[in-house]
């Protein structure tokens, strides 16, 4: 077999594998929505997941939001100062945080922290026959395991993103005004004047969609873990990598789409 044939075979296999995985992820997403309406929501499970995803992720998300806003304000100040544009730092930080930095960084962290935990927990349950035990006891695993995790992440991601935005913009203000001596009144007035509510809406819509992506990919990986403990490690890594890459790719298309939809006139 020639090298070209070997490479095309490999490439074909990779494309087929990716298509199968994508198909599996979409099927799970459809099954999750169907299960949400067919079965009663398990509030105890949902609250437990909300606590783990929403409350326990606050420190990492707020720290990221705060330092992203702070470092961005500092970088913008270094550049804008040369042109005497210090008063534009506020809106620049605010719009960048809302449209890109807040939702993308917050959700990348959630993919790492929560996506990994979901994939690892579900994989462990899968390889120790706990998922089969659920089925043997007459419980549909998607309803019991996936729906609470999915809902918790989809609800938590926009809330956490909003918190990251507030801390990021607040820390940007602190750095620009208290450390670099930018006029506080100008800074805040321009921030409010040039930051549209649509910018905040973009952040929340993006976070919601990223939550769907992370939860579905992590749960799909966990529920399809190959046997053995090595499978758990591989599944967890793949869940985080796939969710992060998908999130970044989807972010580009979302940016174009949301700008076209919200700023068309």
């Amino acid at each position: 077999m020639g090298r070209a044939e070997y490479l095309s075979g490999k490439l074909g296999g990779m494309v087929m594998g990716s298509c199968q995985t994508a198909g599996g992820v979409f099927l799970l997403l459809g099954d999750t929505f169907r299960s949400m309406f067919r079965y009663k929501i398990r509030w105890d499970q949902l609250m437990e997941q909300m606590y783990f995803i929403g409350i326990r992720s606050q420190v990492v998300v707020l720290t990221t939001g705060a330092f992203t806003g702070a470092v961005f304000a500092a970088q913008v100040w270094f550049q804008f100062k040369r042109f005497g544009m210090e008063s534009a730092i506020g809106p620049t930080v605010s719009i960048a945080m809302c449209r890109e930095l807040g939702p993308v960084l917050c959700c990348l962290l959630l993919a790492g922290r929560v996506g990994a935990a979901m994939a690892a927990e579900l994989s462990s349950m899968k390889i120790t026959e706990q998922v089969d035990a659920l089925r043997a006891l007459g419980v549909y695993p998607v309803e019991y395991l996936v729906v609470p995790r999915f809902l918790a992440l989809v609800l938590s991601a926009p809330i956490l993103t909003a918190m990251a935005l507030v801390t990021g913009i607040g820390c940007g203000y602190f750095v620009a005004v208290k450390i670099f001596g930018v006029d506080g009144a100008y800074y805040w007035d321009n921030t409010v004047k040039f930051t549209d509510r649509k910018d905040v809406l973009i952040a929340l819509i993006k976070a919601l969609i990223f939550g769907v992506i992370i939860a579905t990919i992590a749960c799909h990986k966990g529920m399809n873990c190959p046997p053995g403990t090595a499978g758990v490690g591989k599944t967890t890594t793949e869940a985080v990598v796939n969710a992060s890459i998908t999130l970044l790719v989807v972010n580009f298309f979302l940016t174009v789409l949301l700008n076209a939809l919200l700023y068309s006139n």
Partner: protein
Amino acid sequence: MLKLQGIEKRLGGQAVLRGVNLQVGQGERVVVIGRSGCGKSVMLRIIMGLLPPDAGEVVFEGTKLTGLSEEDWNPYRRKIGMLFQGAALFDSLSVFENLAFPLREAGEKNEKVLGEKVAEALKIVSLSGTEQKMPAELSGGMKKRAALARAIIRKPDLMLYDEPTTGLDPIVADSINRLILHLGEILGMASIVVTHDMVSARMVGDRIAYLHEGRIYFEGTPEQVDRCEDRLVRDFVRGHAEGTGVTG
């Protein structure tokens, strides 16, 4: 009660089951023996609806189960209990919560009733007082007994045991065998026990079926199996590796 007709299953391109026919009557204990990897556990998973067969039928209490959707299987799964090889207790739940789980799923909300039923099930398997322990705090034998208590708490009509004594010391294995007999007597349920432990097979089986190359190769009472002159059956029952292609 249960009838398997021509069950076939391929896994990873390899034919594991090639037409299994087996019947289990009311209250009967059937032991399925066979070499490792011959498809015994796959057969149990097909009965439980955890794996779909490629061909053949599973008929339970007169209803054909094969072809039912995952959710349509569920009412029948509640009539069939299964003890998994690794116990498969939910490790995030205490023993009490593990045992109460099937009852809660069946709609039981009264904590007093749940407490009584869990205590009764734990007493049957001699694990009274372990309600608040987590699965990680239990030994292998205790885990199997707790999992058994969870499987029988809804009093199933048919109980499936996947290698119930594997990995246990002979004393604990004997206690599990006695428990299988005891449960059959007090609950009157039929059982299918998958094992390659001949001590266990002789002790608990009303009938023993030898699964070989994807088919039931021999079926009979424990006495008939012991007297069987067929070389394959005899070598398995006596644990002789000679002539089986296995060398040490």
